[in-house]
């Protein structure tokens, strides 16, 4: 007797294996999933844009002969000592505590070799990073862990953190297993307890207060340091405008692919906007205020290569910032630790339990044995190499578009592969002269 034909077992798109595994995990533990990193979901991104390159109407620059400048100056609005960088790629704020001391040192070494800046994080300034970072941006965060006027004065710039792309509107939590004696000492808290980072600053509320706070910071530091304001990708037009109103020299705009040391997965994946969607509204705000290029815009969140850098600049940014990519360059999620990632229930490339402090690569940990795995000199060289490659890639594209400075890249150099990207970047859909929302259509 013939067997009745059957359809193949069909997995639900809505209730995928991944979704079901999270339901089971939640049911077993009663607590939401916490992890590091940024949004992992597919969102419209720089990959959805293409450069047009030179054509009859534009001529290119010779790749191996003609100069294409990359230098950028940040903080020209009010600061006596703006920051001069050789490349338009900076290292984003990541805390000591979240990262090991050698990792902070490696970031400083790599950035300095490449001619750019690093940034402290929620936990104060360490000697490792100050000593090895020629240009160091000091973050001024709601927790104020480790905040002191001496470090403020020896910083090269100050970044007031209002939000970050992974969790706009959220604070943070550094779990007790990463709170060693040194980390606890810097934060004035007991060893081994969970350290909460507040979501709001303790002594100001809103842009009117922030303007006065910035006045205080400038008065303490003799108006020398550029003041950055970092915002998460939430309402980029208004947030940028208000940051300018509050007196920012530089606006740092972090989209939802930007990483965090740890927060709820639901927060990372469901709050905030993709980086691509944030840039044009922020640039528009600067242009409407007559402040584009006078207040510099630094964009972060999912920058991976020189093409991403070039696209961010073409859309109007003055520089970009990298965090996750810099950690990967140092050695994070390297397949050479695959067996150890497997032992942790994950695999290289997917490891994101940075808050647990068991990082096989020795980067997101305070475990002395694991920390020793990272050679800060060699890791710094890898970061330098990576930054150099990104810069060369960005120059390659800029030359192909006929520009002798990467800042001369412009939206007219771009087209979009998808309707969503066209709408967000406000550049034409490939093969058309149209994008959704374009005036006159």
């Amino acid at each position: 007797m013939d067997k009745t034909p059957q359809t193949d077992p069909r997995q639900s798109w809505t209730f995928s294996n991944s979704v079901n595994s999270e339901i089971r995990r939640a049911a077993a533990t009663g607590i939401y999933d916490i992890r590091g990193g940024g949004a992992k979901r597919r969102v419209p991104h720089f990959d959805d844009l293409l450069f047009l390159g030179a054509s009859m109407s534009r001529y290119p620059l010779e790749g191996y002969r003609e100069k294409c400048e990359t230098a950028v100056t940040l903080g020209t609005r009010f600061a006596k000592n703006p920051i001069e960088l050789k490349i338009p790629i900076t290292i984003a704020g990541m805390s000591f505590g979240s990262l090991s001391g050698p990792a902070k040192e490696a970031l400083g070494r790599g950035a300095t070799l490449a001619g750019t800046s690093t940034t402290t994080g929620d936990g104060g300034m360490t000697e490792e990073e100050r000593g090895h970072s020629e240009k160091l941006v000091y973050q001024y965060l709601p927790s104020r862990y480790g905040m002191n006027p001496d470090d403020l004065r020896r910083a090269d710039a100050i970044e007031v953190v209002v939000g970050q792309g992974a969790k706009p509107g959220g604070g943070g939590m550094l779990l007790g297993q990463k709170i060693t004696e040194r980390v606890a000492g810097m934060r004035d808290l007991p060893v081994g307890i969970d350290q909460r980072s507040a979501c709001r600053h303790p002594d100001w509320t809103g842009p009117d207060d922030l303007e006065i706070k910035i006045l205080e910071l400038r008065e303490i530091t003799n108006w020398e340091k550029p003041i950055y304001i970092k915002i998460g990708g939430a309402r980029p037009y208004y947030d940028t405008a208000l940051a300018v109103k509050a007196g920012a020299d530089v606006v740092v705009l972090d989209g939802m692919q930007g990483g965090t040391a740890a927060t709820q997965d639901v927060f990372i994946e469901h709050v905030g906007q993709p980086t691509l969607a944030c840039i044009r509204p922020a640039v528009q705000a600067l242009q409407d205020l007559g402040m584009h290029r006078e207040v510099q815009l630094v964009v972060s969140g999912g920058i991976r290569n020189g093409a991403d850098v070039a696209k961010a600049l073409a859309l109007g940014a003055d520089a970009v910032s990298i965090g996750t990519a810099a950690l990967i360059a140092l050695g994070d999620n390297d397949p050479k630790w695959e067996a150890e990632y497997n032992a942790l229930g994950t695999t290289a490339g997917a490891y994101d339990d940075w808050h647990e402090g068991r990082d096989p690569a020795g980067i997101t940990t305070q475990d002395p044995a694991l920390m020793q795995r990272l050679d800060p000199v060699a890791a710094g060289r890898r970061l330098r190499n990576y930054l150099n490659v990104m810069t060369l890639e960005c120059q390659t594209i800029a030359r192909a578009c006929g520009h002798n400075h990467v800042h001369n890249l412009e939206p007219e150099d771009l087209c979009a592969l998808t309707m969503e990207a066209a709408a967000m970047a406000q550049v034409p859909l490939a093969g058309t002269n149209w994008y959704p929302g374009k005036p006159g259509f």
């Binding site: 927790s143 905040m147 006027p149 403020l152 004035d188 002594d203 006065i212 205080e216 303490i220 108006w223």
Partner: protein
């Protein structure tokens, strides 16, 4: 005694003068007249210096002070002595919100009342308030001592860590994880010394001590209802 008249001297010049005098370790005395609610007066001083402000100030007076003694003969706006490292700041009048926020050392002596969030996120500073304090004071307070001769508002010490809170009057309500604790001899001693330094006419035995129950130190889903 040198005088800086803010009706004719810009804030920048006032602060530069004071900062350089403090740095020179001159131990000089300055008087600031006509502050008229100016913000960021006498901020970032780093050295022994005596400053008297003749009038009321705006936000962040004496911010991040180190070693200097600053006396305000008036009231202060939000964030007085924020992130103070050491030295002494005395307010003869009242202080607005966030007095002594995130302070890491020194003594903030408020002769009048302090508004909400007094001592928020304090990290080692000692604060003595001769009057009352507002709601959410000592929120997430990490270290140091907050002494209140009057009453405390709602949610005192919410989510606090290891700071010690001493209140002589009533407490409208305690915040999450803040409890009344036994006043032991070592606490009487600390309080005695602080009251003496602040020139407060009160006896340590009249106070109650509040501190962290330490139930929220490590995240536990069973405590979610307490937030």
């Amino acid at each position: 005694m040198s005088t800086l008249d803010m009706s004719v001297t810009p804030l920048r010049e006032v602060n530069v003068t004071l900062q350089e005098a403090a740095k020179s370790q001159s131990n000089n005395a300055y008087e600031i007249t006509n502050p008229r609610g100016s913000h960021a007066v006498a901020v970032g001083l780093d050295g022994p210096l005596s400053v008297t402000v003749k009038g009321s100030t705006g936000y962040y007076c004496a911010g991040m002070n180190k070693l200097a003694t600053i006396r305000v003969e008036g009231s202060t706006g939000p964030g007085v002595a924020e992130n103070m490292m050491s030295g002494e700041v005395v307010i003869e009048g009242d202080a607005s919100q966030y007095a002594g926020a995130t302070g890491r050392g020194g003594l903030l002596n408020i002769k009048g009342n302090a508004s909400s969030r007094c001592g928020i996120s304090m990290k080692g500073i000692d604060i003595v308030v001769h009057g009352n304090i507002g709601h959410m004071s000592a929120f997430m307070a990490q270290k140091g001592n907050l002494v209140v001769l009057g009453d405390a508002g709602d949610a005192l010490g919410d989510s606090l860590y290891e700071a010690r809170l001493f209140v002589r009057g009533t407490v409208k309500s305690l915040g999450a994880d803040c409890i009344e604790k036994e006043m032991r001899p070592e606490h009487i001693e600390i309080l005695q010394e602080l009251l003496a330094r602040a020139g407060a006419d009160a006896k340590p035995e009249e106070f109650k001590r509040y501190g962290s129950a330490r139930r929220l130190y490590n995240f536990n889903i069973d405590h979610a209802d307490e937030y």
